[in-house]
Symmetry: C2
Subunit: 260 residues, 2 copies
């Protein structure tokens, strides 16, 4: 499936030009034949997206609960089959949705309730590794470079890039990373989560839920993101471009270069 699409446009000189735009597909998720949500996605890794979505919505406690995920783009559907069903799925998926910094997002209230229980592991990142992360992202061949209008997330061990995900929605990108980690039993303790998007509370909470104690963004941080990161002792680094950055919280996890 192509991740970009060419469309015609007219520029400021009245010239007809061809431009690439990111693909965007509706994927309706059914769990044991019950409709749960429709995700608008670039569609690169739909199974991982669905798995991570269900995990981050905490509809699943373990990846082992899933028998299969079957994606059919002809009808835009992902059919999730569980071994034993999801207890109370009706009530839990009917729960009214709460909104995030991105606009009007997904079930935020429940996530907040769990923040208090999260304890992040000891971890640190050196300033040189941080620059390595920013550089690795810069070198990445991407839909963004060819078409723009997508957000990227990535998972690093130190400055080693493990997974790079783009999507039209940044929530989808982080959910896909969560799905990959869950599927492969990857521990977040020695990982760094990178996003091109803002560090909203939801981004911070999702990182923490994956056990990742350090997040890096090209963009800034919102007030709720800042409050949650401070409360968790999560290291939140924003405005990371070239050699510039701002460490907002969790400074003890960042090993700055010796001055001079």
């Amino acid at each position: 499936m192509p991740l970009t699409r060419e469309v015609g446009a007219v520029n400021e000189f009245g010239e007809s030009v061809k431009v690439s735009i990111p693909a965007e597909r509706a994927l309706t998720v059914y769990v044991d034949k019950r409709e749960v949500v429709t995700l608008m996605t670039l569609g690169a890794q739909p199974e991982l997206l669905v798995l991570g979505f269900l995990r981050n919505q905490r509809l699943l406690q373990s990846a082992q609960e899933v028998h299969s995920i079957t994606v059919d783009w002809e009808v835009g559907a992902a059919a999730v089959k569980t071994h034993k069903g999801i207890v109370d799925i009706r009530a839990r998926t009917a729960k009214r949705v709460v909104t995030t910094g991105c606009g009007q997002g997904s079930m935020f209230g429940d996530l907040m309730a769990e923040v208090d229980k999260l304890v992040l592991p000891v971890a640190s990142l050196t300033q040189a590794q941080l620059y390595g992360i920013v550089n690795a992202i810069r070198l990445q061949e991407s839909t963004y470079k060819s078409a723009g209008s997508v957000h990227a997330c990535a998972l690093f061990r130190g400055d080693e890039l493990l997974l790079f995900v783009e999507d039209v929605g940044r929530h989808n990108a982080i959910d896909t990373i969560a799905g990959w980690m869950w599927m492969n039993g990857i521990n977040g303790a020695d990982k760094v989560f990178y996003t091109t998007g803002r560090l909203t509370s939801e981004m911070v909470i999702k990182s923490a839920q994956m056990g990742i104690p350090i997040v890096v963004s090209r963009s800034g941080i919102t007030q709720m993101g800042h409050e949650v990161a401070a409360q968790l002792g999560l290291c939140a680094i924003g405005r990371a471009t070239n050699t510039r950055f701002l460490c907002y919280t969790g400074l003890e996890r960042l090993q700055l270069r010796a001055p001079g």
Copy 2:
């Protein structure tokens, strides 16, 4: 209520600096004492946001149905009192949420179902007016300039700026504009909607629902946004910075300068 907040951070030289971040507040909306949604918002115009949200979710058919909207930031609540209640509110607010290009957004499915019924009025914008719009946005004093990490939307008549709204969520910004138009009985036919965010399908549909036939963005367009705009004959202009832009759809509504 301040729209920005100063927090401490440490920069790449290990220096402690003060930086501004946008305020972000949780506002839980109750309609006739029933909890409907929690919006994360900058909080500049909460009453208009709530009114526009309820309109864009089509929970209200007319602003006259509303008796009052009372915002109490102490408890982060907006209490909406209607004259006669909202028919079927329980079923309609329990409806499972569908997601948008921004990630995992609000009730999209219902919006799409109405697209076919929308007919946009004849309208046109000159290239000079388009440049006037981009310049008016550039001159705007804003939370973005001082703190970043917010999206802006604006409403124009030709190149005359009528309303400028920023929020941590771009859906909130457009909902606030919708609320203002509804409250004041403003017709969209001779208006232009501007957004700093991407032209996703939801943005295009919301503009069309407000009867606005021309949208302009600093950013690009997604595939679903493109499809819906083409279907509606809405003029979608993206990548609008300085004198550059791309007109993706509805070119007949844009009066380009004569060449040479």
